[in-house]
Symmetry: C2
Subunit: 284 residues, 2 copies
């Protein structure tokens, strides 16, 4: 017998993974949660039938969403992470001794519980004393925060389910207020390749550029996401992520990484023409 | 009725495309050739069950295999292209007025004939007066050439079928001899992500580094190739593709591109740590 997990990347493109075992399935208040074990990707988590995290390549996503802003401003002390129930983003943040507090806001407690059990590789630092977890809607959480965080990371799902509110102007306006003058915002920014994702990317970009004077996009290779061509948004009140990067300072921290390095940090902001055109086309 | 084309990216990963029509199928002396029509990718060509070219994203591969060396040395006059039966690489080369001759060596005439019929988007410049097509084995062809070409592009299939000879030391040693002192060699360099491809990548790198003092690797996003994370090798006798890039000269040519730009040219040579480690691990 063979068991295959299949995911529709578009209506006419399907990505399938042979699985050894369907370890977990449940429906939370917000979404369907599944965990599978596979030879190629190790254990992986899906939400509403979309791969979120695999043991094999989660390092790419989590290193790139964390080290790019942290290297841009190594003095970041207070971080807010929205979404990110698997814990991978928090894990990377806890590697910085200079980080004093990490507030994590995850709407779905069940995701966190499932990851603690099945994905200790990502969830392993959720009990770090600097971490405080709020099981709330990120959209509501940021409404009441002002001038508090040096860094906000929006580690959301796609804007098709519970993550939808995190792709709105209201949300990014409130993030702007919740950030200090030093503030940097990084968000998962979808993908330029397939139409549906490209529209989400444009929507996210349009929301963010209204509030932040610095608004850039960087790209990574994440093979288990649709098309493998994934983007992150970098927005800030004053920090340019490339021009002022202090490579030596970051390299002196001595952090071992499998994907991120400071040369790649500069390189990943160079985008293909068709991606630049899509981003420019999001209206002014 | 639904018709799906499926490709095994590994034994336990499958990529499937809904097709409208199976336009062509045949077995040549060297391989099985198929052409499909799909909504997502337009017409696409497969060889031995692997996607080679799709109308939707062939521009990524062909722009990146051609414009990186051409921008590095805008005085390239004589080019040799090995493989590349679909014509896309030749098409991009013919856009340079400075190019005087393009020798194309394709082992399988049937691929060229099929692409002329079904993929005019890539095959459209094969009748350019500067192009001469040799239906020969590339490995044998380069044995008898010396000090002839400013640029060799190895646009091969994977090293699992007829492309196998193009992943050997003998071949790259002969390429070295066939190049002038100005010579640049670019090759499709497989992918770092799935084991089988990563081993091919290491093999290619090991062969090339023996002959060329400058030996670099650059990366691109090609969603229809396994993992979407694809590499090209850049080797030369003296040209550094990044440090000495004359961006202004290339931009003054006024070529319109959908993927390539000179900023990306510099950025794509910055590789993730795990890729650097795999390349370093190819022995000295």
């Amino acid at each position: 017998m063979e068991l295959w997990y299949s995911e529709q990347h578009t209506k006419s493109v399907r990505f399938s993974v042979k699985v050894n075992q369907h370890l977990y399935t449940a429906k939370s208040e917000f979404q369907r949660i599944d965990v599978f074990k596979s030879k190629e990707f190790g254990t992986f988590l899906t939400l509403d039938g979309l791969i979120m995290v695999t043991e094999k390549d989660e390092f790419i996503y989590h290193e790139m969403i964390v080290h790019v802003p942290m290297a841009t401003n190594p003095r970041i002390k207070k971080a807010l992470v929205i979404g990110a129930g698997d814990g991978g983003t928090v894990r990377e943040l806890t590697r910085y001794p200079g980080i004093e507090s990490i507030d994590m806001v995850e709407i779905d407690k069940m995701v966190v519980d499932v990851c603690r059990q099945y994905l200790p590789q990502t969830a392993c630092k959720l009990d770090d004393p600097r971490v405080r977890i709020y099981y709330e809607d990120g959209l509501k959480f940021v409404r009441s925060r002002e001038n508090l965080y040096d860094l906000i990371i929006v580690d959301s799902t796609d804007p098709f389910g519970p993550g939808e509110g995190l792709f709105t102007k209201e949300f990014y306006g409130n993030c702007d207020k919740a950030l200090t003058e030093e503030g940097i915002l990084v968000n998962q920014h979808e993908s330029p390749y397939y139409d549906k994702y490209a529209r989400s990317m444009q929507r996210a970009h349009q929301c963010i550029r209204e509030f932040f004077p610095v608004c850039r996009v960087y790209q990574v290779h994440i093979p288990t996401y649709p098309s493998g061509h994934w983007l992150f948004g970098f927005a800030s009140k004053k920090y340019d992520p490339v021009g002022k990067l202090d490579e030596e300072a970051w390299n002196n921290l001595g952090l071992q990484t499998n994907y991120y390095n400071t040369e790649l940090h500069k390189g990943c902001f160079a985008l293909p023409n068709y991606v630049k055109a899509l981003l420019a086309d999001t209206g002014k």
